[in-house]
Structures are given as structure tokens and as C-alpha cells.
């Protein structure tokens, strides 16, 4: 292994680093929003609503993310491509780009896994606090916004942090649908230079550093919001 070649790889990874980071940031933040809706739906008293939420969680958590990405990119993408005139529309550059399909798949996945965590957290909110809120005459919406959800986020924080780290590692699957994220770039360099180890090792190092920083961040958050 030549060190000059190895160290020279890192500057080439900068662009793809931002793609990985944006995939992760967007999917974990939007995913958390959707997860909150799913979790609230999953404890609803209306059975059909609850079934929809639970069915969503079970289906997404029971199938590989890679299959979900293929369903969206090849399956749905193929249907979209058949819409007459779509190729000449201004939306085509977006509809053709694997990035958006990967992002959507990651959001859905994050929503299901975090939704399940939040569902458990909501059910663990102490009954007394909800009764107290009711006795103060808070409306249902207020009770959710001021009492139940803030408490649920705190209860779920350690698991949500772990989920977020898992999501960061899941972003590499975007490389299978032509996205030039870190792994996509490593594969590209691999094909160009016929060197297997170096590009993959370089990217592995980046992930180890990223995960390390993220783990620290989550630990910090936990200490800050611990009871």
C-alpha cells in the first residue's frame, strides 16, 4: 500500500462527504417529524388509524432498506418515467436523480424505526402527568404539545440517538443507485485505479471518525436532558 496514494484519496472525498452528510441530516430531521406523526397515530383510539401506523412500522422494519430503495428507484422511478412528456418537463432532472429516491427511502426508514421508539416512549409517559394536564383543563392538542411529546422525546432520547447513528451508516446504500456518496466515490475510485483496499479503507476511516463524533454528541445531549 502506498501512503502517498492513500493520503491523496482524502481530498477527493470532500464532495461526497457533503452528500453523505446532507443525506443523513435531511433524513434524520424530516424522519423525526414523520416519526412523531406515526407514533401519535399508533396510540390513537381510532382503530383504523392505529392499524395504518402499526402496519407501516411493521412493514418497513421487516424488509431490508436495500429492497425499499430498489422499489422506489427502479419500481416507482420506472412508472414515473412512463408518464407522457415527463422527460421534457422541468422536474425530470430531479425525478431521474438517485439522490432523491435514496433520501425518500431513508426518510421512510427513519420514520418507521424512530416511530417505534417514540411509540414506546409515549406509552411510558407517566399517567399522573397526563391526568395533571387534564385537570388543568388543557386541550388535547395542548396536552400533546406541552406535556406528552416533550416528555416522550426525553424518554426516547438514548434510543433515538442510537437510531440516528444507524441511519448515518444506512446512507451508504444510496451508492447502489448511482449516488456519489462516500461509498459511491470509493467504488468509483476502485474502478478507476483497480485498487480495492485503499479507497474502501479511507472511507471506513471517515465513517469511524463520524460515528465517534456523533456518539459523543448523543452522549452530550443525553447528559444535558437527563432527569
Amino acid at each position: 500500500m502506498s501512503w502517498d496514494f492513500f493520503l491523496g484519496l482524502f481530498p477527493q472525498l470532500v464532495d461526497s462527504f457533503w452528500i453523505t452528510l446532507s443525506l443523513w441530516l435531511l433524513s434524520s430531521s424530516i424522519g423525526l417529524l414523520v416519526a412523531t406523526c406515526i407514533a401519535v397515530m399508533s396510540v390513537s383510539k381510532q382503530l383504523p388509524i392505529r392499524w395504518i401506523a402499526l402496519g407501516f412500522i411493521t412493514t418497513i422494519r421487516g424488509t431490508p432498506l436495500l429492497v425499499q430503495i430498489y422499489i422506489l428507484y427502479y419500481g416507482v422511478g420506472n412508472l414515473i418515467a412512463q408518464v407522457p412528456g415527463i422527460r421534457s418537463s422541468f422536474m425530470w432532472p430531479i425525478l431521474r436523480d438517485g439522490y432523491w429516491y435514496a433520501l425518500l427511502a431513508l426518510i421512510i426508514s427513519s420514520a418507521a424505526y424512530s416511530g417505534e421508539i417514540l411509540r414506546g416512549a409515549i406509552m411510558n409517559v407517566p399517567k399522573g402527568e397526563i391526568e395533571a394536564a387534564k385537570s388543568l383543563g388543557l386541550s388535547t392538542a395542548h396536552m400533546w404539545r406541552l406535556i406528552i411529546l416533550p416528555r416522550a422525546y426525553r424518554i426516547g432520547l438514548p434510543s433515538l440517538g442510537g437510531e440516528s447513528i444507524i441511519l448515518l451508516k444506512a446512507t451508504v446504500l444510496a451508492s447502489t443507485i448511482t449516488v456519489m456518496d462516500l461509498l459511491g466515490m470509493a467504488n468509483y475510485i476502485r474502478m478507476q485505479t483497480f485498487k480495492i483496499y485503499e479507497p474502501l479503507l479511507a472511507v471506513a476511516i471517515v465513517y469511524v471518525l463520524l460515528t465517534f463524533i456523533l456518539t459523543r454528541g448523543v452522549a452530550l445531549l443525553e447528559r444535558r436532558y437527563q432527569y
Binding site: 431490508p64 436495500l66 427502479y74 451508516k169 451508504v172 465517534f212
Partner: protein
């Protein structure tokens, strides 16, 4: 182009001559095989890792700590690609390191099981470590007082008690082993997802075949979930 009605697709997923039902089913069997083998290999590594972390020796603790930290920080797909291509080399170097001679050539199946199992082992280590720690100290001391040799002590006392605590974690790891097995389709190994991909691109029913693949994975997940809950009920008998 591809989609005009359901009947055309239905004929293609059935078990006729030109139907993909047979290949998909065989792919599902391969998926189960690699999941199961890598899971067992991972469990073996996990026991070894848990022992290394709890043996009290600084050296083995460090080796296990580096293994679990690094493997759990790197995305599974990256590791699968890395280990799939380097598995044979790594294994031969390990063999040479132990002073044995001879060259081992991993088959595709073995390389896949090795790479998936190597990843699972790191997660297994943490599950087993936590479970062993949760076994009450007095029980181990009682076994020691009976002068049971260490191996018997582990097999008869620690292991069954630990299994009860480890089971939920092991169930989760089995679910992820099932799903992670689909990653090896990226390095060109033919399991369920790879078959689905071939079927999709040959028939142009992309949505249909990938959804079918997803449904088979979902069925496997639900069935094994149920099996784990049965085992859990059995291991938990006698405990409140």
C-alpha cells in the same frame, strides 16, 4: 412498455416454466442459509468476544474492544464489500500467523458467511457481554463451590441463565441478519434480492418483483419473530 394489467405479472411470479416463483423460492432458501450460517458464526465470535472482554486480561479486552468499536462504526455494506474481497487473504494470513501451513480458498458462500458473520459478531459480543454480567454472582460462586470445571460451569450454569437475558437482543440481531443478508447481492452473490433484481430487469415488472421480494422478506421476519417469542416463553418459565 411494462405494465398493462395484473394478469401478465401474476403469470410471471407463479411456478410455471417461465414463471419466477421457483427461482424466487430458491433465492429465499439461499437467503435463509446465509442468514443462519452467518448468525451462528457471529454468535460464536460473540461468545469469544464476550469472554475476551470479561476474562480480566487487559490484552484480550483491548482486542475485543477494538473489534467491536471499529466494526460497529463502519457501515455494513462497506464492510461486506471489503471483507468479501479480502476475506480469503485475511484468513490465510491468520492461518500463517498461527504457524499452520496451507492455503484456504473461500468459496463465494463461505466468503459471504464470513463477512456477514464477522459483522454480526461485534454486535453479538455486546449482547452476550451484557447478558453474562446480568447472571447473578452467587450462582457462579455456587457452581465454583461445587468444583465444577470452568467449561461445565459455563455450559450448565452461566449459558442457560445468560440466554434468557440475551434473547431479546439475539432476536433483534436475527432480524437484522435476515435483512443484512440482502447486502451481498451488491457483490454479485445470488440470493433472494439478486434473483428479484434479475427477474425485474428481464420482465420489466420492476415494481411487482421488488414488492414480491419485500413481501417474502416480511414473511420471513414475521415467522421468525413468532418463533423467537415461543423460545422466549420457554426460557422465561419460572421467572415472573
Amino acid at each position: 412498455m411494462s405494465d398493462s394489467g395484473g394478469t401478465g405479472f401474476l403469470a410471471l411470479v407463479m411456478f410455471s416454466d417461465q414463471g419466477w416463483g421457483g427461482p424466487l423460492l430458491r433465492g429465499a432458501v439461499v437467503t435463509l442459509e446465509i442468514s443462519l450460517c452467518s448468525y451462528l458464526f457471529g454468535a460464536l465470535l460473540g461468545l469469544l468476544g464476550a469472554w475476551a472482554k470479561l476474562s480480566g486480561s487487559r490484552l484480550t479486552w483491548w482486542v475485543a474492544e477494538v473489534y467491536t468499536t471499529i466494526v460497529r462504526a463502519i457501515p455494513a455494506l462497506l464492510l461486506v464489500i471489503l471483507l468479501f474481497y479480502t476475506g480469503t487473504t485475511l484468513l490465510n494470513e491468520a492461518i500463517a500467523w498461527f504457524g499452520w501451513r496451507g492455503v484456504v480458498n473461500l468459496s463465494g458462500f463461505a466468503a459471504v458467511v464470513f463477512s456477514l458473520g464477522f459483522i454480526k459478531g461485534a454486535y453479538m459480543t455486546e449482547v452476550f457481554r451484557g447478558a453474562i454480567v446480568a447472571v447473578p454472582e452467587g450462582v457462579g460462586e455456587a457452581a465454583q463451590a461445587l468444583a465444577l470445571p470452568p467449561i461445565l460451569r459455563f455450559r450448565l450454569i452461566t449459558f442457560p441463565l445468560m440466554l434468557r437475558v440475551a434473547l431479546p437482543g439475539m432476536g433483534n440481531l436475527w432480524q437484522s441478519a435476515l435483512k443484512d443478508s440482502s447486502l451481498v447481492s451488491v457483490v454479485g452473490f445470488t440470493e433472494l434480492l439478486a434473483v428479484g433484481k434479475i427477474a425485474a430487469s428481464q420482465t420489466k415488472y420492476y415494481l411487482g418483483f421488488f414488492c414480491t421480494t419485500a413481501l417474502i422478506f416480511l414473511a420471513l421476519a414475521i415467522i421468525s419473530n413468532w418463533a423467537f417469542s415461543l423460545v422466549g416463553r420457554r426460557l422465561n418459565r419460572g421467572f415472573a
